[in-house]
């Protein structure tokens, strides 16, 4: 996205380890993850079928889709196993004054 700008979407404390949360920027659903204290953001919608990643199972830097067990790397968006083949979109994140900002 060429016109991406930073959006404050959550407090850092809202994002607990292994408990991803959903935020929205305009019409875009974004999932926020806490991986060892660091915050990461991906698209919330699985690239395989319509499913919300925040309902999935996070384990370290992997998120598993709740519908079909497809797994993605949270940091890179890489698709790791069938049925997923397309990567998840990732978003730049920064934390300022306890706020999570996402570039979207």
């Amino acid at each position: 996205m060429t016109d991406a700008t930073w959006h404050s979407v959550a407090a850092k404390d809202d994002v607990a380890p292994d408990e991803p949360i959903k935020v929205e920027v305009g019409d875009t659903e974004i999932a926020l993850y806490n991986v060892d204290g660091e915050i990461f953001a991906t698209s919330n919608i699985c690239t395989h079928a319509f499913a919300s990643m925040v309902h999935g199972f996070q384990e370290g830097e992997e998120i598993e889709c709740p519908l079909h067990d497809g797994r993605f790397n949270i940091k890179t968006g890489e698709a790791l196993c069938p049925p997923v083949t397309e990567p998840l979109q990732t978003f730049e994140v920064k934390v300022e004054d306890g706020k999570v900002l996402v570039k979207a």
Binding site: H48, A49, H55, G56, P66, L67, H68, P82, P83, T85
Partner: protein, 406 residues
């Protein structure tokens, strides 16, 4: 391996699609021929009874896009049925009379709908649901105010009922047994889904079968076993599938409630494999054979068999798992134990928000959940694990499921 080898996959459903993909992923560079009697490239079946009947055609989920098959040099023979298999000469015959010689062959022939032998079942506007074309035919008949009779209160029947209701149809479900999905779920789950459907205005008739259909060309009434005549614009019959084993039986393979295979997908004939709904396969976790009709089994058993064919022997060894979506409720079932001592519930069985753990001693051997996908993911690991668990902790919402896993 020599490039001159030919692998043939008979059955271009979900399992067949994943198999050819896995063969190329495993580095097989020989010829791959994929034979399917549907006109479509492989696709996943779960949306057929859900999104595709809810006005969301974009939910159609091909296993891979069209370009994949060309780019990977997979020779797709669609709209073709295999009519004979000769394991000794290693040839398969198609319904156009052509013969194909193979080095190895994989049967992913799936299942065919069980037909209901009642008078009038051949009238127009009576449908079964297995294929994309079936789904599209049903979809074309769904509209606000239409009356639909669904025969069979299993997963497929109830998903069709929910989808039709969401389209504004007046829906009646006839189920022979005294509860819904009785073959697959605990009675508390049956009851939760009976309530769910009732709240959404579906007329659920338990202990009720269909005796016949009336109509002049097209169905106008479904007649119940109690001789009640239900006016209807369309009927959908969902009373299960039977494994498509004719080819295997004729070829002399061992068939017993499906094609018998080991954990690698090997049939009783050398170089002939099978995977998916059609197999009665050995699951090493259970030390017994099971036949499954599920998305997971179609995908992962096919991948394991395909890898084995390519020389990377991989056993298919997973905790069985399946799901259903009806209205806003997600149902998941895992483990499929034959026996258990008791059931421990976490959550409120009266509120469509709970998970039940089937226990054998201090181990979880099965789990079923309504609207708890995340808990279910952990429950699936508990089933596969060897950790002793305490009933009180399993039932206590204050104890996190993740802590139970650790």
């Amino acid at each position: 391996m020599p490039v001159s080898e030919t692998y043939v996959v008979v059955g271009a459903g979900h399992a067949g699609g994943r198999a050819v993909e896995a063969m190329r992923n495993a580095g097989f560079t020989g010829k791959i021929i994929l034979i399917g009697d549907e006109p479509h490239l492989p696709y996943e079946r779960p949306p057929l009874s859900k999104e595709l009947l809810q006005g969301k055609p974009e939910a159609h989920t091909p296993v891979r896009d069209d370009a994949f098959y060309a780019e990977n040099d997979i020779d797709c023979r669609l709209g073709r049925r295999a009519t004979a298999l000769d394991p000794a000469r290693k040839t398969v015959t198609l319904d156009d009379g052509s013969h194909i010689a193979f080095d190895k062959l994989l049967l992913t022939t799936g299942g065919a709908v069980r037909r209901l032998p009642v008078p009038g079942a051949d009238l127009a506007n009576i449908h079964y649901l297995r294929t994309l074309d079936d789904s599209r035919a049903i979809d074309a008949g769904l509209a606000d105010g239409k009356r639909i009779v669904v025969v069979g209160g299993g997963f497929i029947g109830l998903e069709v009922a929910a989808s039709a209701r969401q389209r504004g149809c007046a829906v009646t479900v006839l189920e022979m047994a005294d509860r819904l999905m009785g073959r697959a779920v605990l009675s508390e789950i049956s009851e939760a889904f009976r309530r769910l459907h009732a709240e959404h205005g579906v007329d659920i008739r338990l202990n009720t079968g269909v005796a016949s259909f009336d109509g002049d060309g097209s169905v106008t009434h479904a007649v119940t076993g109690d001789d009640e005549k239900l006016p209807t614009d369309m009927a959908v019959i969902g009373v299960g599938i039977v494994p498509e084993t004719a080819l295997a039986v004729d070829a002399g393979l061992t068939v017993e409630n499906g094609i018998v295979v080991d954990e690698f997908g090997r049939t009783s004939a050398p170089d002939i494999y099978a995977a998916g709904d059609v197999t009665n396969h050995l699951n090493p976790l259970y030390s017994r054979r099971i036949r499954l009709e599920s998305w997971q089994n179609a995908q992962n058993q096919a991948i394991a068999a395909a890898k084995t064919m390519c020389g990377e022997a991989q056993a298919y060894s997973e905790v069985p798992w399946m799901w259903s979506d009806q209205f806003d409720a997600n149902l998941q079932v895992a483990g499929l134990p034959e026996i258990w001592d008791r059931v421990v519930f976490r959550g409120d069985t009266g509120a469509a928000d709970f998970i039940g753990f089937q226990m054998a001693g201090d181990r979880v051997v099965g789990a079923m959940s309504v609207n708890r996908p995340r808990d279910m993911r952990i429950a699936r690991r508990l089933i596969g694990g060897d950790k002793p668990l305490d009933d009180a902790a399993l039932a206590d919402e204050a104890v996190s499921m993740r802590d139970l896993m650790r």
